[in-house]
């Protein structure tokens, strides 16, 4: 019986637990922290209103991320003329507070990450950081699996070029 009856408690706790991930994803997409939180807020309200349409037992994170992503894109379309091509303008968009020893390294990574096109940042985060399968990520982004793979590959190549050049003291053996 309990299986048939979607448990609001489970939904609610899962929902609350995933908010930090939603924030991180939002930050990766739009860089600006305030805007990212607005995005999360809107996502939570929408998700909550539509929670009856969530299929119990399916992936709640994927469901929430998809809502956030769609919200981001429609907002992006609205604001398009205002923030046309804001890619890369958010210096330190994904930057972290620098308590680690490898602060410099991290900042450099963040800078490099910020130079990627939004769809590649998204692909890299979904697959590389959140651990979604290519198939899942492709479903969430409404693209072919091959497209998702090539976005991830291109992101990795670009980062490899940017970061590999920097500390090129390496493996070529001279």
């Amino acid at each position: 019986m309990s299986e048939q009856n979607p448990s609001p408690v489970d939904f609610q706790s899962g929902f609350a637990q995933l908010v930090p991930n939603l924030r991180a994803f939002a930050r990766s997409l739009c860089g600006n922290p305030d805007r990212a939180d607005d995005l999360v807020q809107e996502t939570l309200v929408k998700a909550w209103q539509n929670r009856s349409s969530f299929a119990e037992g399916s992936n709640l994170k994927a469901w929430l991320f998809t809502i956030l992503r769609n919200t981001f894109l429609s907002e992006q379309r609205k604001r398009k003329h205002e923030i046309e091509d804001a890619d890369g303008k958010y210096a330190g968009g994904i930057a972290v507070n620098g308590s680690q020893a490898s602060h410099l390294e991290l900042l450099d990574f963040s800078k490099a990450f910020d130079t990627l096109p939004a769809e590649q940042r998204e692909a890299l985060v979904l697959v590389g950081a959140e651990g979604f399968a290519y198939e899942e990520a492709a479903l969430m982004c409404g693209c072919a699996v091959g497209t998702m793979k090539s976005r991830v590959n291109r992101a990795r190549e670009k980062l490899t070029t940017l970061l590999g050049e920097k500390d090129d003291d390496g493996p070529s053996g001279r």
Partner: protein, 70 residues
């Protein structure tokens, strides 16, 4: 599709690189993976701002009220 075309016209090298995926410096690849996960984990670990915690409470409250009514 269009992306691929774009890359081709803008920088043909990218396609060579892609074919040579296997020889992308594995150290750099490992570093990218680690830094991506670490940077992302730091974002996930950040405390929620009040407005989001409050929203969560509100939503949970809505649900409770509803249940009691029905």
């Amino acid at each position: 599709m269009s992306d691929k075309d774009k890359n081709k016209s803008v920088s043909p090298d990218v396609d060579n690189l892609r074919d040579a995926d296997a020889i992308l410096n594995p150290e750099v690849q490992g570093r990218i993976g680690r830094e991506l996960r670490r940077t992302y984990a730091d974002l996930v670990a950040q405390p929620l701002p009040d407005k989001l915690s409050q929203l969560l409470e509100q939503l949970a409250q809505t649900d409770k009220n509803k249940e009691q009514k029905s």
